[in-house]
Symmetry: C2
Subunit: 390 residues, 2 copies
């Protein structure tokens, strides 16, 4: 590619980027608007590709090969509460405490429009919808995670600030996005106890399936805490752990009065036929046994990947228990330049983090993909920094 060609593509990409607000343009958008870029690896996208393989296999045998697909696409899916009934057994939470969402985004929007009142506390850097979706009259208190602490949450300081500022809502993302910082069970228990008197304690567990506290690799959800604390709201995207972002599937565990309010207020036929199919699979023992294998396999590969990235001298990799890492680039390399270079020259798409509130410096977020792609990512980044001879 000539230098002028590259500059032209670079400019076009910058425009797409600028038009996307606080989110990166999606892969489909880039493919449509910039067909001249040959994207080989989407390391912006946070999902377990082995789980997608598993889902696609079952989609093929159960839905396509049987001809059931027509029924799934032609007819209305079941109402929210029918799908909750199924999910209830899988996660051991009463169905009245479950709200099925059209992706976690819809759930966040529904919570913020219906339950959040005057003031909310949120750690930064974090997933932006949690402060973007607030109503105009809601004040946001930003609790800064410190770079010198590796963006690790100081739970005592967080709870103190939440109480002192008199918030009605606190938001915790576990593990956090974009850094992957994990909050241990014992710390979550501490937070729930300390903040038991505020109306809403939101814990987003969209990446919880990638976490573990010991060598069994079991993850530990806080969903059961809803039985003890009626202010706890667990938000769960299924896009990441199951690799099915295109379907839009999520759920929320919360006080049954809150579920009732949403179901009465228009969130009733909010999911599509494929979401219902997914939740049917999610309640099937055989599928979940297979899922468990690909979940652990992916965690192990991700750990290998993170170790390899750490070995690249010129970048700093922050500790993560999620399926991505926050990476700090050398001072002279702007993150958007790095992202554009790797995209255009190597076909690898990373998430530039310079739009992230509370994150000063040149940061990118790098997702773990399959083992082969992870190897390519490590090699191309090494090459970029001159660590590898071509």
């Amino acid at each position: 590619m000539s230098k002028s060609e590259k500059e032209l593509i670079s400019k076009k990409f910058q425009k797409l980027f600028d038009d996307s607000g606080t989110h990166s343009p999606s892969l489909l958008t880039i493919k449509k608007e910039l067909p001249e870029i040959d994207i080989k690896i989407d390391a912006c996208f946070l999902s377990n590709p082995y789980a997608t393989d598993l889902f696609m296999d079952r989609f093929k045998t159960d839905v396509i090969d049987t001809g059931l697909i027509r029924e799934v696409l032609e007819f209305y899916p079941s109402q929210n509460n029918i799908i909750s009934k199924n999910l209830s057994k899988t996660i051991d939470v009463p169905e009245d405490n479950i709200f099925i969402g059209n992706g976690a985004t819809e759930i966040i929007q529904a919570i913020f429009h219906n339950f959040v009142e005057r003031k909310v506390i949120i750690n930064i850097p974090t997933f932006s919808p949690y402060y973007e979706f607030v109503r105009e009259d809601t004040e946001v208190i930003f609790h800064q995670l410190k770079k010198e602490d590796n963006f690790c949450l100081d739970v005592e300081s967080f709870c103190r600030e939440a109480k002192e500022s008199g918030v009605d809502t606190a938001v915790i993302i576990n593990p956090n996005n974009p850094d992957g910082g994990y909050i241990k069970n014992s710390d979550i228990a501490y937070i729930c106890n300390e903040l038991r008197d505020i109306p809403n304690l939101i814990i987003d567990e969209s990446f919880i399936h990638f976490t573990y506290e010991d060598s069994t690799y079991n993850f530990s959800s806080s969903e059961q805490l809803v039985k003890k604390y009626d202010n706890v709201i667990i938000v769960k995207s299924m896009s990441k752990d199951f690799g099915i972002a295109g379907i839009r599937a999520g759920y929320c565990v919360m006080d049954k009065q809150k579920v009732e309010t949403l179901l009465k207020n228009g969130y009733l036929w909010n999911v599509n036929g494929l979401t219902e199919f997914f939740f049917n699979l999610y309640s099937e023992e055989k599928f979940m046994l297979e899922y468990e294998k690909v979940r652990v396999k992916y965690i192990k590969y991700t750990n290998e990947f993170i170790e390899q990235l750490k070995a690249i001298e010129k970048i700093k990799v922050y500790p993560s228990k999620a399926n991505f890492v926050l990476v700090e680039l050398p001072e002279q390399i702007k993150s958007q330049t790095f992202v554009k270079d790797l995209l255009i020259d190597s076909g690898i798409y990373f998430r530039s983090c310079d739009d992230k509130k509370g994150l000063e410096g040149n940061f990118v977020r790098i997702a773990s993909r399959d083992r082969e792609q992870n190897d390519v990512i490590v090699r191309e980044i090494s090459k970029y920094f001159g660590d590898v001879d071509e």
Copy 2:
């Protein structure tokens, strides 16, 4: 089937029905919960089955056979405004005036939660979400459509009541559900002019593709009126005319300030990959030429069907320009009894209307299905009323 078996199934169905609130249980729910019923025809479901055939053909060739399906299900779909850009050309409305919805239900919810203020006027009988999704502090004025006028809207009386009661929002469904009553272009123009000073004039055109005013069978959308009146809000479900309710696809044409408010407030990644695929097809000339053929074919078959139903002496069929008719049963036959009898004995599912506000009497709504199924429906209803020898 023995009498006691039938009674048991009838009781179970009644429970499902009671649990579904103001909507009938979906076909998938009945199939799951009552597998002993062999449903052959879903005449509760309002869609063009020939359009589903057409969509399924393209889904197979474009998405399944090419392997694109993985991309569609794995990755995030494009953001709302990217899909609007495509749709803009098809419907000749600027992209800034278009909001893409996860089905019309989400659009109704978004409008009622974000734009409707103190008071709304709604014709009854009608599609219940329009009064169910109102906020607690919103007053609803019900404008009764008269049985003696065949539930036809008296536009002058409607506009007078809207103005006298000082509403900020008026809702028109054209054609109306459950009766199929059509409001002519000239009457819509009258309403828009009369109510030009209220903040929101919602016109739901979810069934507009089934209407026509002359022998060309062309339908006439009010979408262009948004260019003249900034209070007009057109709501459009794609589930009915394209027979794809399981996908969840709809759009809304309205003032660009309103679109901006929704996009800023969390309605951004609200649709799934298949919805995006559908809207791509909808902007393709070849697909739309084929769609036009199945649209007109279905209208003609529906008209035949309505004539055949009218010939059944014991029932009264109200005039309809939609793909369904409102049918009044003889005084002694309760609509739920009729629905259960036809479902259990003939495998045909109708919509009982006894939960419909503003509709006193024994009414059912009967959808037009494909030509063969329509013939079966006419025969089984005739048999039920003893018009046909077995």
